[in-house]
Subunit: 390 residues, 2 copies
């Protein structure tokens, strides 16, 4: 087991009606004038945003707004937020929405106390050491950003989709009401479920030996997701199933599935290029890229994929290579069952430019990346080809 630091300092307030505590939590964390960051659709239509603003008004909390954040959030919106935040003198950021709004909020929070360009943090030129406090009212369980210090932004110039992280960017609080997820369409629900599974698998596929406690927790979260996912697809207003899925999304990414091992994250890198170039939903891109990555990886290194197959999908097969293969099939079957595409074709990408994708991923992730297996441009091309042909 490797040395590690785990500092999960977010206050999670979970359950029915908790969004009504937003003013109280802002006050508790000394957040006196937040910039409210949100998207384009559901938080406005559902009336949630109005309710949040009303509860701030009632407590006399001033705020300014940044709406219109899009999925796969972009740098131009961050720059817009930074300008508003500076002009209005906000002291904190409140995201109302899902991963895109939260990641944009974190980017702005990191940028405010920094003199340089915020993109420095994403391209690796600088490290975040301080940030404005961030609060969250979560409406989409998927990215896990409500409990992590991570953020992913796409730079429009060149379509570079890059992530970065720091414990100082962990939200101070996250208000999580599963009822707010009742209206999520099935496809978006399934894409979110895929995203949370991928967050666990990126941590799970590791060569660090003897991390039984972290393996078992990760397998437990995966098993819970697999049990609860069909329920939320069948009945979007099943409160308990929505609650299980929502909390699973947080545990998938807050670090409790990380402790003591090297992580992989190659598949996220591979998928980010798909999202950036073809503008696919992140979770759906992962449903295509993870089986493809596993199909290639098991040839070199089947052991952990076989363990995944046995412990998560109850595959009874002693041979590692065969078990791994059956595990990949079981994963695809599960993803298909919840309505998420597992091939590029199903995703609407008929003739993917695998050479361009492989070139871009090595530009962004490095000439050689990944840990469970090492990936260079040639291997990346192979994996994209598997995804294209499967």
């Amino acid at each position: 087991m490797n040395n590690f630091v785990f500092y999960p300092a977010t206050k999670y307030v979970f359950g029915k009606g908790v969004e009504n505590k937003v003013a109280k939590e802002l006050q508790a964390f000394g957040m006196k004038k937040p910039l409210i960051v949100y998207g384009k659709g559901s938080v406005i239509k559902s009336g949630l945003l109005d309710r949040v603003k009303k509860s701030l008004d009632e407590e006399g909390i001033q705020y300014v707004e940044l709406g219109g954040v899009q999925p796969n959030p972009v740098d131009s919106k961050v720059y817009e937020g930074i300008e508003i935040a500076k002009k209005e003198g906000v002291d904190s950021v409140l995201a109302v929405g899902g991963g895109s709004s939260i990641d944009t909020a974190k980017a702005i929070a990191a940028a405010l106390p920094y003199e340089g360009d915020f993109w420095d943090f994403y391209c690796g030129k600088a490290k975040v050491t301080k940030a404005l406090p961030v609060g969250v009212v979560l409406t989409i369980p998927a990215a896990g950003s409500e409990g992590s210090g991570n953020t992913v932004i796409t730079k429009l110039d060149g379509l570079h989709k890059l992530g970065m992280g720091s414990d100082v960017l962990r939200p101070k609080f996250a208000l999580m009401n599963p009822e707010l997820t009742f209206t999520l369409p099935p496809y978006q629900t399934a894409a979110g479920i895929t995203d949370m599974m991928a967050h666990i698998m990126e941590r799970y596929f590791s060569n660090t030996p003897n991390v039984e406690i972290t393996d078992r927790v990760a397998e437990g979260v995966l098993k819970a997701i697999i049990t609860e996912a069909p329920k939320v697809i069948a009945n979007p207003e099943d409160y308990d199933a929505r609650a299980n899925i929502m909390w699973s999304g947080t545990l998938a990414h807050n670090g409790v599935c990380s402790g003591g091992r090297e992580e992989d994250w190659a598949t996220h890198g591979l998928e980010h290029e798909l999202s950036a170039v073809y503008d696919v939903t992140h979770g759906a891109g992962l449903a295509v890229m993870f089986p493809a990555w596993m199909t290639h990886a098991m040839k070199e290194n089947p052991a952990k994929i076989a363990q995944f197959a046995r412990r998560v999908f109850d595959i009874e097969e002693k041979d590692d290579a065969k078990a791994a293969e059956l595990g990949i099939e079981a994963l695809k079957k599960f993803l298909t069952s919840i309505g998420i595409p597992v091939t590029m074709k199903e995703l609407g990408i008929e003739n993917p430019d695998v050479k361009l994708l492989a070139k871009k991923v090595t530009e962004n992730k490095g000439e050689i990346f990944g840990n469970y297996i090492k990936i260079d441009r040639e291997v990346a091309e192979k994996i994209y080809s598997i995804a294209a042909e499967s």
Copy 2:
């Protein structure tokens, strides 16, 4: 799934050599003059305490000391610590040791900003709303106090052993080096393992339905403990096994196994009387009381005990009552295999005063306590009798 708040705001620094970061972490959290709280034995003999003090000296951090904390820590030591802390004007508390030192440190930390008697918090007269910051260098994986806001103290007058908790008492940081646990004797190691399993089981045996995610995480931590425990007993210097056990002890009690359900904690109540009256090791007392509680509870409510049997001990039996029974047997067999007593006799209590124990537990826990099943004085007597006769 019930509403819940989960605020796990401890910074865990885990791995080889992390105790050397104590001065750095004290400084990071603004702890300028700590009271160092420790026990009588191993932290002194091993030289750890001297190393901690030396590293504080080197950084010019002032400190005062409170040594001699005993297992099942008592109020008199807390009062002694409060007096020293007030006189010397400390601003924080640093526990070096296991649960007893940490629980004493938390009691002192809560008492300092409070005008009344610190026991008010334990007997339910007052709630902790502020406290001095607490830091931890952990040497005994068992109580999970390094990652919880809980503390248990015994009042010598009447031998009342009571616990209380508040998020403000969660340690700011916990330095956890598994190497520091190499010298723990097998019996103490096994008692610690039992304690952590009990922490999970108190949360797991719940009537709250549809908490799959929390169940799966809890089962995962239990399975990891069951795999790793025999390794640390067989080879006390197996670093990875010690690391898995140490981290399991934290996850068992920091709340990640709690989310969204009513908890039980009856068995801890029952055991606290055993510890208080017969001065047995807490973990060993739990190894006796948990199977006894389960043996009684399964008659009224076998469902969750059957799930425990199937998912944690892989019992393949469809009938709930039979599965539960086999699960209890498997648990006893496991505990026996790591060298921990599972009967009062093995614990050296030949003729327990079950009437006195039942009287005291209802005095301390209430006339009716427990959630998975309801326990009154008569039922408590029955459970103590099962433990006495088994």
